[in-house]
C-alpha cells in the first residue's frame, strides 16, 4: 500500500473505532492498543512498528496519525482529569463520516477484524488494555523465536514489564487470554500443566 492510501486507511480505521467503542473507554491508550491487536493478532496491514515500553506496546506514529485525524476534524480529543492523573477522551469529529468514506475500501476489507476488536476489547479499562497487550507482545516475541511458553513463564515475563500488577492478577489474565485463543506461544500441554 502506498503512503497516501495507508494514511487514508488509518484515518478511516480511527474514525470507525472511535465511533463504535463506548465513549467511556475510548482514549489514546485504547486506540493504541486496538491498533496493536488488529495488526499483530489479526494481521491488518497498518504499517506500524510496535515496541515495548513500561506502558505497553507503543508506536508514536499512532499518536502522530491521531493528531492528523484531529487536524482533519475527524476526531475530537479532550483531556480528562481525575484524582489519579489524566487521560484522553476521543469522540467522532464533524468530518468523521467523510474520513471513513475515504477509507471505505479498507474498512470493508477488514470488517471482521474490526468487529472482533470492538467486541473483544471495547469495554476494557486502559490499564487492562496495557496489561493484555503487553502479555500478547511477550507471547508474540516468544513465538517469533520458536519458543514455547507455559502460562507461568508468560506471567513472570509480563510481571517483569508490569510490576505494579499483582502476580495473581496477571496469572488470571494469562489463563483468560489463552481461553480467548490470543496466545501463540502457549501450547495446550503447557496451559494444562499450569
Amino acid at each position: 500500500m502506498d503512503w497516501r492510501n495507508l494514511q487514508k486507511a488509518r484515518m478511516a480505521l480511527f474514525a470507525e473505532l472511535i465511533s463504535r467503542v463506548p465513549q467511556a473507554s475510548m482514549g489514546r491508550t485504547m486506540l493504541m492498543k486496538l491498533c496493536y491487536f488488529l495488526q499483530e493478532v489479526r494481521g491488518v496491514p497498518l504499517g506500524y512498528r510496535f515496541t515495548i515500553y513500561s506502558y505497553g506496546p507503543f508506536d508514536s506514529e499512532v499518536l502522530s496519525d491521531l493528531n492528523t485525524a484531529v487536524g482533519l476534524d475527524g476526531v475530537k480529543s479532550t483531556v480528562v482529569y481525575n484524582s489519579a492523573g489524566y487521560g484522553y477522551r476521543l469522540e467522532p469529529g464533524p468530518m468523521s463520516a467523510a474520513i471513513r468514506d475515504d477509507g471505505e475500501w479498507f474498512l470493508r476489507q477488514h470488517q471482521d477484524s474490526i468487529d472482533w476488536a470492538v467486541e473483544e476489547f471495547g469495554d476494557k479499562a486502559a490499564s487492562e488494555m496495557e496489561l493484555e497487550s503487553t502479555m500478547v507482545f511477550v507471547d508474540r516475541e516468544a513465538a517469533g523465536r520458536g519458543e514455547i511458553l507455559s502460562l507461568d513463564l508468560l506471567t513472570d515475563r509480563a510481571r517483569n514489564l508490569k510490576p505494579h500488577f499483582q502476580r495473581e492478577h496477571i496469572a488470571a489474565r494469562a489463563k483468560d487470554l489463552y481461553s480467548r485463543r490470543l496466545l501463540k506461544s502457549v501450547k495446550r500441554e503447557a496451559a494444562l500443566s499450569a
Binding site: 503512503w3 506514529e61 487536524g71 476534524d73 483531556v79 479499562a125 510490576p163
Partner: protein, 425 residues
Amino acid sequence: MGLDHIYEIRCPVHGFVALNAWEREIIDQPAFQRLKRIRQLAWTDQVYPGAMHTRFEHSLGVRHVANLLFDSVVRNSRALLESDLGYNETGLDRYRQLVRLAALLHDVGHSPFSHSSEDLFPERDGGGKKYVHEEYSAAIIRGPLRDVIENHRANANYAFSADDVAALIEGSAGAQKGIFWRDLISGQMDADRMDYLLRDSHHTGVHYGRYDLHRIVGTVTALRSGENSGLRVGIQEGGWHVAEALVLARYAMFTQVYFHKTRVAYDIHIREAMKAMLPNGRFPRPTELDKYLEWDDWKVLGLLAGGQGGEHGERLTQRKHYRRVYRSNEMMSHRDRECLEKLEERLGSLLAERVPAGRSKAWYKTDGSDIPVLSEQDGVARPLSYFSRAVSYLGKHDQVFLYCRPEDRLEADRIVKEVGGNGLA
C-alpha cells in the same frame, strides 16, 4: 589504566563527555568508529555549511545526557523507584551503567547519511515491513560488539549480556524491569532528542534549537500518569517552562532545518543515488553485518566521485537538485488535501517527487505525545498542555512539498498558479 579511570573527550555542546574504561574500549571498536564516517544531518551542509557533525559525537553526547537524566530521576523519585520497581542501590547502579551503554550504542546501526537512506533497508523475510536502524544497532551489539560488552573486566560487576543492552534499544521484552528506563533512550524527552537539538542548533548556527538542558535535567522525575498505570518519566511542575521550550525548539528545528526545502531535495537525490549503487537497491540485511558495515558516507562519496549513482548522483555532484514548486499548509484541512490531490493530478509527469512531512517516523519525532508534568499542588500528573498554552495549540506538522526537475520549473510554476489552492511555492 584502571577500571576507575575516566577519559574526558571535548564536546562543543557539553564541554566534556566523561567515559569510563569500558566505554572507552567500546568506542574504539571498528563498528563504533564507523560513526565518524556517518554525518548526523546528511547533506544539510548544502544549506547550513557548518552541519558536518557526525553520529560519533552525537552518540557520546547522548551517553552524557542519558547519565544526567538517570541521576536526576533517581535523585527526584528514589522512593517511588524503590516502592514500585523494587530497585535498591545495587540495582540502580546496575541500571545506570546499562542506560549509559544503551545510550552510547543507540545509533551504531545507522546507514550512510543517516535518515536519508532509511527507505533502502530491506524487507523482512515474509515481506511487509522493512528493517529499521535500531534493529541493525541491536544486531551489531549482539554481533561484533558482543565480546567487548560481555567479556570486559568491568562487566564482572554487572553481568550484562549483549542482549540486555540490545533489548533496551530495540524495545523487546528482554529489557524486563529495566523497561522503565527506555523512555530515556527513546521517548518524548529522551537523551537522543535533547542532544541532537542542541548539537544540530550549534553546528547549523540556527539558534531555535536551544533550550536550558540543565534545568530540564534538574526537574525530570518518575511519576504515575493515571489510575493503575505504571511509572513513566515526566517533569516536575517547576520545569514545565523548559519542557515547553524543548517542544518549541523541536518544532522550530523541524520547520527550519530538518524540513528545509533544499535539504529535503538533497535527501531525495542521495537516497536515489544510493539505490543505484546498492545491489538490488537495498542495504544488506542485519544477518550480513560484515557487508553492511562496509557502507558509510566515505564509500558513497567515493562512488559518487567515480561517477556512480545514476541521474541523481549527477544532480548531487552538479547541484542540479529538484526545486520545490508547492508547499501545503502545515496542518492541512480536508479541503487542502482535495486541492493538493487536484494539483498533483494536473502536474502529472512534471511532478518529480511528493514529500509528506510525516512520511518517515524516524524524522525527529514531531508526534503528538504530551509530556506528563507532576503538579506541585496535588502531586498528580497533568499533561504539559494543561500548563502551556503554546503546546496546547501546537498541532502536528503535516506539510507536503511537491518537487519538480529544475528544467521543468517554469511550466510547473504556471500550473501551480493556475490551480491555486492554499499553499505557496
